[in-house]
Amino acid sequence: MKALRKFLDKKKPLFQKGGKFAKLQSSFEAFETFLYVPNITSHSGTHIKDAIDLKRTMSVVVLALIPALLFGIYNTGYQHFLSLGQTAEFMDICIYGLIEILPIIVVSYVVGLGIEFAFAQMRGHQVNEGFLVSGMLIPLIMPVGAPLWMVAVSTAFAVVIGKEVFGGTGMNIWNPALVARAFFFFAYPSKMSGDIVWIADKADSFSGATPLAHAASLVDATGETATSIYTQHLSDVWNQFVGLIPGSIGETSTIAILIGAVILIASGIGSWKIMASVFVGGYTMGAIFNLVGANAYMELIPAWQHLIMGGFAFGAVFMATDPVSAAQTARGKIIYGFLIGFLAVLIRVMNAGFPEAMMLAILLMNTFAPLIDHYVIQGNVKRRLKRVKVNA
């Protein structure tokens, strides 16, 4: 470690004003502060919340994503061998999954960071740290079969249009990783929905449909067919909770996501208010549908099952809590979270075109988050004004 510090100190003058590579200063700085906590503090005003800086915050989030990632790697291999009807050793499964997933992660980071560095360099800014997390989130919400160039295009779109045009990290309206997924979803629908994309190299005879796709087919099913769809494909709730089902890479395992949620909440980085209210919102809408029971989807899927299907849990824990695009006020967070869960289940059940509605619900509420905050603050101001008048 000491040697590394010495090396950095020796090279530093080269990148400072007047040095040989002065133009690349922000790139150098990015690596230096990534490796070591910088000893620079801000000079104006006080806005200290706690002792860790943005890069360290981001590292904790990446850490919280590790369980979901590891499980995703295992599940990718598991689904592959399952579809072929083969049994495989644990190591083989993991290695297969790694070979499938690693390229997606590499592409996401290389493209995203490449653009971030280029923009920082051009504008003379510091390199933004935000992409450390987005770069990991993007692969986790992609289908295993996503062609790499499509991942690259989606990532580039998300970083440039989702983030840089607004001014970079901390300025974006929407969660960049979800922008990447939305772009992918609408641009290349054949690679993002249907039955074939969720399992790598699956056998043709094997149905690769996700539980959500089965659930969506319940809308038109009645009587016996509906019950048989449910018992065949959807009643295995334990597997849906553990995550041994087809789906986007990191979203399948509710357990792994909950471990991440514990890390986020314990470190104070993710807002438990948002997470909890998303789940409550989803459950509420699910319960309303159970009461209405207008079709088999509403009748047969219990409200709590919505919370473990598809990307609901992943979105609630890692996407909705993004501190930049979420609501900021305490009460706003609860409204924001509740509406995400509520809308996600609503769109899922009512619109067969979007079986996975979590992405759309979060992007929609991202858009409204500033409005929610505005009214929460205005409400607060009004209440306090009233108090002043009563006392006087």
């Binding site: 160039w149 499509m150 295009v153 772009f183 641009a187 290349y188 629908p189 054949s190």
Partner: protein, 213 residues
């Protein structure tokens, strides 16, 4: 005309060229956005609509300019509307007669030229206060500025969204065989807004004087 001025004096040439760049109706004045979203999925309708708007705008400008001293200012809007509406119907009928396929694609958007803010904007801002010849040039210039953006947007949307340009296959089959796919989002209207946004972004970073504080 006592103050005889050459037909293409520097001032008149500016009327033609300014709307193409620093005074572009779409990217600077942000007018006529709706039709820019609606007709730019393919190049052909974009070009046809551009020509239609050019015909309507240039003629309406000339007519309003000729009548400018006789139109009572309290009813000027309604007079302008009548002139524009008559011209739009004319264009619509001509398209139906000679380019039926395209006119079907454009459907209501030919009729909606009448609501295109650029047209009323130019009539109000320019034709009412200027002589016919400059008004004509102004009409051509603004329609061309509008059209150039339409064509740029349509170029990218058709190329990336359908792999064609003006209906001809541009992206070779070999690409598709290798796994290339058309970008479905490009066909959807929101992408037109994004492309217009990118054009504005590029234009302003090239010409810093356009950035307002």
């Amino acid at each position: 005309m006592s103050d005889k001025e050459p037909l293409f004096s520097a001032k008149n040439r500016k009327l033609l060229t300014n709307p193409l760049g620093t005074d572009n109706p779409i990217t600077i004045q942000v007018l006529g956005i709706c039709s820019a979203l609606a007709v730019t999925a393919k190049l052909e309708p974009a070009v046809v609509l551009t020509i239609s708007v050019m015909a309507v705008l240039a003629l309406a400008n000339v007519i309003v300019s000729l009548l400018r001293n006789t139109i009572p200012s309290r009813i000027r809007i309604i007079v302008q509307l009548v002139i524009v509406a008559a011209l739009v119907i004319l264009v619509d009928q001509i398209l139906k007669a000679f380019a039926y396929e395209v006119s079907k694609q454009l459907s209501v958007f030919v009729g909606l030229i009448i609501t295109n803010c650029i047209i009323m904007g130019r009539l109000e801002a320019f034709a009412l206060g200027n002589k016919p010849w400059p008004a004509f040039l102004d009409g051509i210039g603004n329609a061309a500025g509008y059209g150039i953006i339409l064509v740029i947007v349509a170029f990218f949307r058709e190329l990336l969204g359908s792999g064609t340009l003006y209906g001809f296959q541009i992206i070779p089959q070999a690409f598709y065989d290798m796994g290339y796919e058309n970008n479905g989002l490009m066909i959807l209207p929101p992408m037109a807004l994004v492309v217009v946004g990118i054009i504005i972004w590029v234009q302003r970073s090239r010409d810093k004087s356009l950035i307002e504080n």
